[in-house]
Symmetry: C2
Subunit: 222 residues, 2 copies
């Protein structure tokens, strides 16, 4: 039974079938302002249409990390809406309006988004904890998986430390929303990933590094 | 700000990329029992794995409607778990354990699922209202769309009546979870669909019938 509650935050997951990417729309409905996290270039028109239909102003485009397929959505959204583009501190990008560092909190009305430095997939990756209850894990932690660490600025030992020391130390009930999923899962929890994530369960740091260094993944499409 | 609330219902959306189908896992976490709505044959192993990891007993497989690609997931799940397969009253299927009629309520612990007859896509389609707050609309109502009405037992006038008289008369804030989405949307609301669904906005019954009869859709793959 759900006991009555009041929320003025709207949290909506959007999916890009081509890149298997989740974009997150986070809204303070009282002030009508929105944040898009990890927008996808090919979905900008869809997202602009949704913002218009919901009568929302896009305040920020926020990125968990910067790869070729990520920041481009933010650039076009910024041009079209005048929103600010926010990327992790030390991200290798010249076009951001603002950088966000570990422990910094981005607020939008009653919505509070805390940046948690989680390097390893890239050297400047951030996870974002939304109102203390939903964790956007980007490409650091997937549902029963994790991001690759074998190209650009990735490092498996660093990712192991990020996930085990920064994310798995959060409360079990926090919901996990990744930037990608390849099996049709939409959400998990910290407790579930601690118990069932096959990349981390039963592997110490050295085992994990060895495992990640021998995945022999194909080159990414983008 | 989210004010504290207590819920023992777990509600999880799962996606099948091949058929663009959403399956819904609905759980009473206190008794550890689950319902799967519109399971997909090709995803049975994924769903069984998730049920096992979450330590859940599958009590029911429930269908919004019966097409070739739908009931087969339920049959395999029934064989593997011993769950009951529930289909809408008058559905053309011989293997169901139980039929559910308009206004009937399926309960599982504290979870209450009310069947709402919404024929038109097929002649025996049901929508399901979960705990009075989430509406599983199957192939009757999509996010900014609706199911096709041009094959098997479909009828556009009937679907128009179902959506406008049975679904659009529900409270605006009820969340809409369809059985399919082709643009990466995961959820909407009754209020949004009443305002923005291009199949219904600005069309009376006769216009809608004419529009649906001239979509010239390709044959479905399954």
């Amino acid at each position: 039974m759900t006991i009555g509650y009041v929320s003025i935050m709207l949290f909506r997951q959007l999916f890009d079938q081509e890149s298997w990417t989740y974009t997150y729309l986070i809204v303070d409905t009282e002030i009508g302002s929105a944040i898009l996290v990890d927008s996808v270039l090919e979905q900008v028109e869809r997202d602009l249409k949704l913002l218009k239909e919901l009568d929302l102003t896009l305040s920020y485009c926020l990125e968990t990390h910067v790869h070729a397929d990520h920041v481009t959505g933010a650039e076009r959204l910024r041009t079209k809406t005048g929103c600010s583009a926010i990327v992790p501190a030390h991200a290798h990008v010249s076009c951001a309006d603002r950088h966000i560092g570990d422990g910094e909190i981005l607020t939008l009305g009653s919505v509070s988004i805390e940046a948690i430095a989680t390097p390893g997939h890239t050297d400047s990756h951030m996870a974002y904890l939304v109102n203390g209850e939903r964790l956007l894990t980007g490409d650091a932690l997937f549902i029963r998986g994790c991001g690759r660490t074998d190209f650009q600025s990735g490092d498996p030992g660093t990712l192991y430390d990020s996930v085990t020391q920064r994310l798995f130390t959060l409360p079990d009930e926090i919901r996990v929303y990744p930037a990608h999923d390849y099996r049709g899962h939409t959400v998990s929890t910290i407790g579930e990933e601690k118990q069932w994530n096959p990349r981390f369960v039963g592997r110490d740091r050295a085992d994990y590094i060895d495992f990640m260094n021998n995945l022999n993944l194909p080159d990414p499409k983008k």
